[in-house]
């Protein structure tokens, strides 16, 4: 056997659909791409706790409150799975938190929209988690082992999130006229921001090419967006609600819906930090991180003392 070319080995693994593991050799750009993607994904889970957390104290029943608490707790767990997956690539938790808290890191644009009514809690679970699942189901087969394994656990848990959201929407859509109107209003406001979650159109997506080449992603932004619309339309029709898009119609030739693109200028603005809630989200994260500082300090001091006692004994 001659000199081993690590890049060839890496490519051979990808070609065989083998997973890349933390200790395997990988191209520096693959590592960087994954660190960016996984840490952004983790931040999205953590910031994603805020819009729904907003309604925990105002949930209309004990059942609704328990469900919402469990869902928000799951999102926190998802963030933790993803942070450690990113850490396996050589970035520390502290570096990632710092990037989030200083506004350097990005997270999903969707969480910079406000949850104004109780129907928004339903719309977020149904549409936002629905869109996230579409992306995450694909990522279960992503080429990086720890990321794929985190996704398998996350997908198992997300299914409850989407179903509880849709259940909430059915209660409103089949309730009083005022409740139905509230459901329609939530759908109107969340429709386009949800479509944005899949990222810019393929023609303008700077990171897509590598992501596909390295099998980090297996489908493009536009493919996933199309599938989401196809899957969601019957659910909307069942509720008797309408999408805020006059151009949306079934296209028999492509066996899918034609629909309007979201406003990509708005998307870029929200990503840049000018969305409705960007400032509020960052302030909330910073506040809770700061308020937890004494807990971390106390826990560390306690652990240190335990270790000293152990060594002395």
């Amino acid at each position: 056997m001659g000199v081993i070319n690590f890049e060839d080995l890496f490519e051979a693994k990808l070609a065989k659909n083998d997973m890349i593991e933390p200790k395997d050799w990988m191209p520096e750009n693959y590592r960087k791409h994954l660190i960016r993607q996984i840490s952004q994904h983790a931040h999205s889970e953590i910031v994603g706790m805020l819009p729904e957390g907003n309604w925990i104290t105002r949930a209309p029943s004990l059942r609704a409150k328990l469900v919402l608490l469990a869902k928000v707790q799951d999102e926190g767990g998802h963030g933790l799975y993803l942070y450690t997956a990113a850490e396996s690539l050589g970035i520390s938790r502290d570096e990632m938190l710092e990037a989030l808290l200083t506004g350097k890191a990005k997270y999903s644009s969707i969480f910079n929209y406000p949850t104004l009514t109780w129907a928004d809690v339903g719309a977020v679970g149904w549409l936002v988690d629905g869109a996230a699942i579409m992306n995450q189901v694909m990522l279960q087969r992503t080429s990086y082992g720890p990321y794929a394994r985190a996704m398998v656990r996350i997908c198992k848990e997300e299914s409850f999130h989407q179903r509880q959201g849709y259940e909430l929407m059915t209660h409103l859509a089949f309730g009083t006229p005022a409740q139905k109107e509230m459901a329609q209003d939530a759908l109107n406001r969340w429709w386009y921001p949800t479509l944005m979650m899949f990222g810019p159109p393929d023609s303008e997506s700077p990171n897509s090419e590598n992501a596909i080449k390295w099998r980090i992603k297996r489908e493009t932004n536009d493919q996933l967006r199309q599938r989401f619309v196809n899957q969601t339309m019957p659910q909307i029709e069942y509720l008797g609600l309408t999408v805020p898009d006059k151009n949306l119609k079934w296209n028999e030739a492509k066996k899918g819906y034609d629909f309007s693109e979201p406003d990509w200028v708005e998307f870029k603005n929200v990503i840049k930090g000018n969305g409705i809630c960007n400032k509020e989200r960052l302030l909330s994260r910073n506040k809770s991180h700061k308020e937890g500082e004494w807990v971390r300090a106390a826990a560390m001091a306690y652990a240190k003392k335990q270790n000293e006692n152990y060594e002395a004994a």
Binding site: E21, R93, D94, A299, A303, Q306
Partner: protein, 96 residues
């Protein structure tokens, strides 16, 4: 560890049912053993995924390295006589 840290990393192993092996399920940050165990429960067993947990400091894990895989496992590759299929048993004997 920086001064405002999340604590060291721990690896988590879950036993699904009594008698089954403990399987690695992920990792987490915690400051001490007790906290690691409680965090593991909250993070990895929210839906009855297991009935027993191990947490191990990640630094205590010694792992083989992928680059050495060939030479490391090579000694057993040519010992086909370690497998039951290596041996011929007459048809009349039945299942063994």
């Amino acid at each position: 560890m920086s001064k405002d840290s999340q604590g060291p990393l721990w690896e988590v192993f879950v036993q699904k049912k009594a008698g089954q092996p403990f399987v690695h399920c992920g990792n987490l940050h915690a400051f001490d053993k007790e906290m690691a165990l409680q965090n593991a429960r909250d993070l990895y067993t929210r839906r009855g995924e297991g009935m027993s947990l191990w947490v191990v400091p990640s630094t205590a894990i010694v792992a083989s390295s992928p680059e050495d895989m060939g030479s490391f496992f090579e000694p057993s590759n040519d010992k086909i006589y370690r497998h039951p299929t290596f041996y011929q048993i007459p048809d009349g004997v039945g299942h063994m």
